[in-house]
């Protein structure tokens, strides 16, 4: 895999923006198009960009090894299922939206008609969105890390070396 100076510099600029955009998609999932899966996938593309820019080996040394992403994935899933089970404790059925219009966190009442939307509405749905976002981010990152682990990579020294002068000799399609 080759990734030159341009990719690395651009990646350094873009990665934080990708993370913020992914977080935005997750947080506004109940108001605008988007949601947990989409936001999590966007965040995972940021991880993919890091892997491309900074090489697999450097990334897992300086960034985080794959087993931490497994924990992130598991914690997202646990948050989901615990939120779903919490409704049982309150005497309703599985996944019941008990936070909705309760006045607490995400519990504002919804205004009808054309409006800009209120972030703190919709009850447990944003919580579930965050859970899915965390899960998808972790899971896709694990997938990427394991797939990158199977690739043969060039080193930084090889990538930064000046491009070899193309000698037109013995190449396919060359006149002889």
């Amino acid at each position: 895999m080759t990734s030159g100076l341009i990719v690395r510099t651009a990646g350094r600029l873009i990665v934080p923006l990708i993370f913020i955009f992914g977080f935005y998609l997750v947080a506004h999932g109940h108001l605008t198009p988007g949601g947990g899966f989409q936001g999590g996938a966007v965040i995972a593309t940021g991880v993919a960009l890091i892997l491309i820019c900074y090489y697999y080996k450097d990334s897992i040394e300086k960034f985080s090894p794959a087993k931490n992403f497994k924990l992130i994935e598991a914690s997202g899933l646990l948050l989901y299922i615990c939120t779903a089970l919490s409704a049982l404790v309150l005497g309703s059925s599985f996944l019941f939206n008990w936070l909705n219009a309760s006045g607490g966190l995400f519990g504002h009442a919804v205004t009808y008609g054309i409006n800009a939307g209120d972030l703190f509405t919709a009850g447990v749905i944003p919580v579930l969105n965050f859970a899915i976002g965390i899960e998808v981010f972790g899971a896709l990152s694990v997938v990427l890390l394991y797939m990158f682990a199977g690739l043969r990579e060039t080193t930084r020294a090889e990538d930064d070396a000046p491009a070899p002068v193309l000698l037109k000799k013995g190449k396919k399609g060359d006149r002889k």
Partner: protein, 115 residues
């Protein structure tokens, strides 16, 4: 006729997908064919939920008296996309292992299990 256009596209996509899956021996191309098949099914689901002049189905945000497209099929499509991602990732990883062990991704040569 114009309303049937999506269905013609779906039929074409399913035909192309099955042609790829049945005829291509390259496993990566087969996975691509499965992706096309999945997209065809997704397109079908979205199309049956379409309503003339419909707007996005955000109930609390909608003005009075307009059509909305069906939200259920969109939820189905999203779920199917998620499942498709998981399945494709698993298949690609397995093909990577096959390539490592067998040295080929040709389905004709990937037949140590037979008879």
């Amino acid at each position: 006729m114009i309303a049937n256009l999506p269905f013609i596209a779906i039929a074409l996509l399913i035909g192309i997908a099955f042609a790829i899956i049945l005829l291509k021996k390259n496993m990566i191309k087969m996975v691509m064919g499965l992706g096309i098949l999945e997209s065809a099914v997704n397109l079908f689901l979205i199309t049956i939920g379409y309503r003339e002049d419909g707007i996005a189905p955000i109930f609390t945000n909608a003005p009075e008296g307009v059509n909305m497209v069906l939200p259920t099929v969109q939820a189905l499509t999203l779920t199917n996309i998620v499942i498709g991602v998981a399945g494709t990732a698993l298949m690609i990883s397995m093909i990577m292992v096959i390539y490592k062990k067998y040295g080929t991704i040709n389905s004709d040569k990937m037949r140590r299990l037979k008879e």
